[in-house]
Subunit: 432 residues, 2 copies
């Protein structure tokens, strides 16, 4: 495909993308396919010779779309949101074209420097303590990880490395393996200190945990994967109090801040702690400026060596929405969650199972787990809306998460009508 | 930004992408900026209110481009190639629009199933032993990791988990920590068994290592990050011999197979080994089909939970190029490397420092390391071409890697003229 054809096909693809997203409600939100459906629809081997582009595009509708769970449908209330916005998609096109691999400052200075500054911008939006920002002379700073899991793993490895070194400094006769065998990681059932858990969006008391961790010289990592985006609103910022005790903090703008996956923002108070655990310096990655102490080489901050120019997405989204636009977006989702909560509370057959703080409502039919499992089964089979369950203190609970960028009140109302209709049918049946 | 504006801006972006890539040669391949250049060019905080899109696009040229190392310039010969093709970029646009997160089969069946089938297609192109393929009943199979580092980490963790379980089965009184303290990982100075090392594209003798590993019940992981793409050509396939002894194998189509970053292909002989090490099953990720044994939930195969729909890029590229087109692409790069090798060999001042097997030429001026460091410094400062060095047996060596999709013989010739001109000037100076 030459540039001329790309110009034509690219413009067609832009329309295809807009058409898909604007008409996504016409599709059943959840697919009706059996495991293995796709293999039988396409050849068993790659073609020897090039095929027509038209045939590939036809196959998108024939092969791919029937097997898609439409995460951006306003009828999608499962898991947590995954971000989608036009400015982020435009930035991603540019990212693909530049196609630089930012493992070191020299490999593309703009890729490294925009990331550092965007993490400062975002840190300021969250009112993170100054010590987490890079600025021009800070000891802290931010980095884009792929996912919160990677951020957690990085903080765990950095914590371990720091602890080993501290103990070795005073006990030079202890081997690393001896020290490792005595290290303890304290976790909750969500693993680390969490602001906004996945099952129910619950919040750990980090203001109580934090001082304890600091006194005992323990590394504290705080994960606010979903909830973190809300902290850009002053009314939700108190939920982040206690972050000043943390050594590292992360959340996922790719969930709720309109920046398409992947973009997990992580900050550390002392970047030397992270870099110390991972330094990787073969000659082919060295460059003149690295000894100056002025540059960041992000390969030391993460598991992967290669990295895309993901901060472009942050830059485009922050500038096209502005802080006010982003706050309005968060608030709208919270209002819609409260609206759904009110609908549930007004129906005596149902109960709310956890505080509705942000965009997630945990609810269930009063009654057995089996009853609720049956309700969810019907919801899933109808494919009009999509939810997933969670377990709270042994109880089977339905999660209703406000997800889509284009969701409105009428979608929430329609979803509730659908749920109550299925509930009516379920409760009519003799076995209940 | 609404859909209408996206249609307009998206089409402008398609042209911007094509313009950038078609005229990339007009730009100096390596940027002329000092560390910290970017921070002073943009505000210290995100804007409160939305900005104009035009202003953002103007800033791409003002703020970003001066700090870009142009990896897709035909004057870029550094590191290894990073893939770029129009079909991959089109697929990535579609991936962004669908925006599903494929951590489980149910979260988007097409995302999981296309990946499994594409890894089978690619495995067949490489003539991988059948046991690495998923097929409909295989025990093996492939997965897309972000980078080779992640693939290596996954195989290391799977190997460790498998060894611990094997020892625990016969020594039930040993604690995990005791076992861990006795485990040994054998590595080369590139870490694991490598086909095509980064410094010099050297090949380990996997046909000798493999049987030893199998006899001793050791997990063998083979990394062919760069070289792997070449194995789709029958004449280079013998370099992969020995893979039949491996437990896991990976290479990066995002390097040399025209599939934009990130796309690191990894195969395992027994997927149960990988999954066993990482199973992660909260209720909110369970789905009806997972107990059937028929579905793949890729979250168990990797560190991150979330994952993009990356196999779309493979599908578009394989179909738009065909196996013949991909082979022709690899062969052209190898021919150009050989052409450069001939130029170097014809100049008695220079020496070739490693066999030129694929697209990398390691060379140096006969003489001191300092002399070669000075030559590279001049090359870097001129910004006409870009190379990075490596160290081979204590010697400072220059790496000339064929990288760009649009590179032609005249670029190689011009690069060599430039190098010899700088050499001439360097050797003229009194201190040499």
């Amino acid at each position: 495909m030459d540039a001329e054809e790309f110009r034509r096909r690219g413009k067609e693809m832009v329309d295809l993308v807009a058409d898909y997203l604007e008409n996504i409600e016409d599709r059943p939100v959840y697919p009706d396919v059996e495991p293995g459906y796709l293999r039988s629809l396409i050849p068993t081997e790659a073609p020897q010779d090039p095929e027509n582009y038209e045939d590939i595009i036809k196959d998108v509708e024939r092969v791919i779309m029937p097997g898609i769970t439409h995460w951006h449908s306003p009828n999608f209330f499962a898991y947590f949101p995954t971000a989608s916005s036009y400015p982020a998609m435009l930035a991603d096109m540019l990212c693909g074209a530049i196609g630089c691999i930012g493992f070191s400052w020299a490999a593309s200075p703009a890729c490294t420097e925009l990331e550092t500054v965007m993490l400062d911008w975002l840190g300021k939006m969250l009112q993170l303590p100054e010590c987490f920002l890079a600025g021009t002379h800070g000891q802290g700073g931010g980095v884009i990880q792929g996912t919160a899991s990677e951020a957690t793993l990085m903080s765990l490895l950095a914590a371990r490395c720091k602890a080993v070194r501290r103990i070795q400094a005073t006990n030079s006769d202890m081997s690393e393996m001896e020290i490792l065998s005595k290290l303890v990681a304290y976790t909750s059932d969500q693993f680390c200190a969490t602001l906004g858990t996945t099952p129910s969006c619950a919040f750990d008391k980090t203001e109580e945990l934090g001082p304890l961790c600091n006194e005992e010289n323990m590394w504290m990592h705080i994960d606010a994967a979903y909830a973190g985006s809300a902290f850009i609103c002053p009314e939700f910022r108190p939920l982040l109090n206690g972050v000043e005790f943390a050594d590292s903090f992360n959340f996922n703008p790719h969930k709720w801040l309109l920046i398409n996956f992947d973009c997990s923002a992580m900050w550390v108070k002392k970047r030397a702690d992270l870099i110390g655990a991972f330094k990787m310096d073969p000659l082919y990655l060295k460059h003149e400026n690295q000894e100056s102490g002025l540059v960041t080489d992000y390969r030391h901050w993460q598991i992967p060596l290669g990295r895309r120019f993901r901060s472009l997405k942050m830059w485009f989204v922050f500038r096209m929405y502005g802080l006010n636009g982003l706050q309005a977006y968060i608030r709208k989702h919270v209002v819609l969650a409260k609206e759904f909560e009110s609908l549930v509370r007004a129906d005596k057959r149902f109960e709310i199972c956890a505080d509705v703080v942000l965009g997630l409502v945990c609810f269930r039919l009063k009654g057995s787990n089996e009853l609720n499992q049956n309700l969810l089964k019907r919801i899933t089979q109808c494919r009009e809306i999509h939810l997933v369950p969670c377990q709270l203190s042994g109880r089977f609970v339905l999660r209703f998460a406000i997800c889509a960028r284009k969701i409105e009140s009428h979608h929430v109302q329609k979803a509730w009508q659908h749920i109550t209709q299925l509930t009516f049918e379920l409760l009519q049946e003799p076995e209940h």
